[in-house]
């Protein structure tokens, strides 16, 4: 996947002429103050709303904004967004069910996906029986079960406590490293984006568009050691500065 670019503006000016190219296999964070349109951008990429102008181009051919086949995109919402009446298994089965796969045919894939997020033992549990972090894992498993090429995450861990969040960050990194999936990760946390990303796109508000594009050196292995390293500290400082400038730019106008 390459050359996902889009140019659009809409009535409330959530986004104005935003262009962005995403490379296949990268972990890209969209970072910005609230109201800069980062979630809107993500939803448009997912095909959950048409851009008022502009277009999204996918690698295979130039197609419309809803060009990717269903299942090629996984989406993780800010809330776990689980169906409370279905078990963990039922929730992860949903995307495959909607594609017409029978429960038995889907079972191996569901169990395998649940195992990758560490929930194999909880297949028969109901969402209300799970902790916030576990619900989020179910949500991630559901996004991954179709084996998507692109994973979109909309501030997925914003509501979790710091410890759970760090754990899930590590898990997402592992998944990304093992599967070679492309990830676009919306966040408002400097530290989270600096820890996770191979590239950070800082957005500004009014007009909502790309402010700076910061490729990060990816050589370092992201682990507990990295969290306390000088390299991480420098990254955080750089990103923090860029975010500050982005907010300042919006206020000056």
């Amino acid at each position: 996947m390459a050359n996902v670019s889009k140019v659009f503006s809409n009535g409330t000016l959530a986004l104005t002429n935003m262009s962005l190219t995403v490379q296949r296999g990268e972990f890209l964070s969209l970072l910005g103050p609230s109201g800069c349109g980062k979630s809107t951008a993500l939803r448009i990429i997912a095909g959950l709303g048409a851009p008022s102008s502009g277009s999204i181009e996918w690698p295979s051919s130039t197609v419309n904004w809803k060009g990717l086949p269903e299942g090629d995109i996984g989406f993780v919402f800010q809330d776990p967004t689980l169906m409370p009446w279905a078990t963990v298994f039922g929730n992860v089965y949903l995307p495959l069910k909607l594609q017409g796969l029978s429960k038995e045919a889907a079972r191996p894939r569901i169990m395998e996906t649940l195992a990758t997020v560490g929930l194999a033992d909880f297949a028969d549990a109901y969402p209300r029986e799970l902790s916030g972090g576990m619900k989020m894992r179910v949500s991630i498993a559901r996004a991954l079960v179709t084996k998507p090429k692109l994973l979109l995450m909309d501030e997925p861990f914003a509501a979790l406590d710091e410890i759970t969040r760090q754990k899930l960050n590590d898990d997402v990194l592992n998944l990304w490293r093992q599967s070679g999936i492309t990830v676009i990760f919306v966040t408002h946390s400097v530290f989270e984006s600096a820890y996770l990303s191979s590239r950070i796109v800082v957005m500004r508000a009014r007009p909502g568009q790309v402010f700076t594009d910061l490729p990060l050196i990816t050589s370092a292995v992201r682990d507990e050691e990295y969290r306390t390293s000088e390299e991480y500290r420098v990254s955080c400082a750089t990103v923090s500065k860029a975010l500050h400038d982005a907010i300042h730019a919006a206020e000056v106008r």
Partner: protein
């Protein structure tokens, strides 16, 4: 990745209050029974001690006696009332759920049909009973229509509310995976509306019995094939108080039974996942 977070504590929490929980469970059943028995005993003693005549206030013993001796007349009437109640409830469920699904398909359909629903709802149904008696071939049909109309609206409005109150992000999710309208209805909207539907069912179930009785009062059926309302009126005219009370008790038990069944259905459907049916754990 560890997945065992937040499970270990449950066992310890359950151990301690076992004793108090058992005695509390016994009391939960015992207290209402004792109170009911006490009320019946007081009633019986009052009637016996004050010498109140049967045709003003019968004693519980008299009522039970009437229940046994009048069983052959009361049971067919109960059957009639029950038939109307359940036919009305069934029609109301089919009509209410069906119309709700049609209404939420498009806001234009809703705009077009909702005024009729509101007009029918706000008009006191008993007031149109005389009209129905003229238009329908027999009293039973008129009673059925009245009971249906009364049970129909709570089911309709709860179902519409339920179908509309689906998590927007879940709707987005279904869109993302290219779910059709039908899939969305079956796999998302209908399950999500279950708590609302069941509220409608509980209200509608109780109302259809009340409406079946009230409609019979208003329509004034008589003779064979008439329901419990007619038996109530008849017993009243004849000052046959024990039988009147016996008929009342049958109605009360029917109401309690309907409440019990609908509550059980609610529990059976919701207890695994919905907050309203889950015991709070703290």
């Amino acid at each position: 990745m560890s997945a065992t977070e937040s499970t270990g504590t449950d066992a310890a929490a359950i151990m301690a209050p076992t004793v108090t929980r058992t005695s509390e469970r016994v009391l939960r059943i015992l207290i209402p029974i004792v109170m009911l028995v006490l009320a019946v005993v007081i009633w019986q003693s009052y009637v016996v001690l004050s010498g109140t005549p049967k045709y003003i206030l019968p004693s519980p013993v008299d009522v039970v006696a009437a229940l046994i001796t009048d069983w052959p007349t009361l049971i067919p009437s109960l059957g009639t009332t029950l038939t109307i109640t359940f036919e009305a409830l069934t029609l109301a469920l089919i009509g209410g759920v069906g119309l709700a699904i049609i209404l939420v398909q498009s806001k234009w359909i809703e705009l077009a049909l909702f005024p009729f629903a509101v007009i029918l709802q706000v008009t006191p149904v008993v007031a149109i009973a005389p009209l129905l008696l003229i238009y329908t071939p027999n009293t039973q049909t008129a009673l059925l229509i009245v009971a249906f109309l009364v049970a129909f609206f709570p089911i309709l409005s709860n179902m519409v509310q339920g179908l509309k109150s689906v998590d927007h992000n879940l709707l987005n999710l279904f869109d993302l995976y290219g779910a059709g309208r039908w899939q969305q209805l079956i796999h998302l909207k209908i399950p999500a509306s279950m708590p609302y539907f069941l509220t409608g069912l509980r209200i509608g179930g109780g109302l259809s019995l009340i409406a079946a009785v009230v409609a019979e009062f208003a329509a004034g059926s008589a003779g064979a094939g008439s329901g419990l309302a007619f038996r109530l009126l008849e017993s009243g005219y004849r000052l046959n108080m024990p039988r009147l009370y016996a008929a009342l008790i049958l109605l009360t038990f029917t109401g309690v039974a309907i409440f019990g069944v609908t509550s059980f259905i609610t529990w059976a459907v919701l207890h695994r996942w919905h907050e309203s049916a889950v015991r709070r754990e703290n």
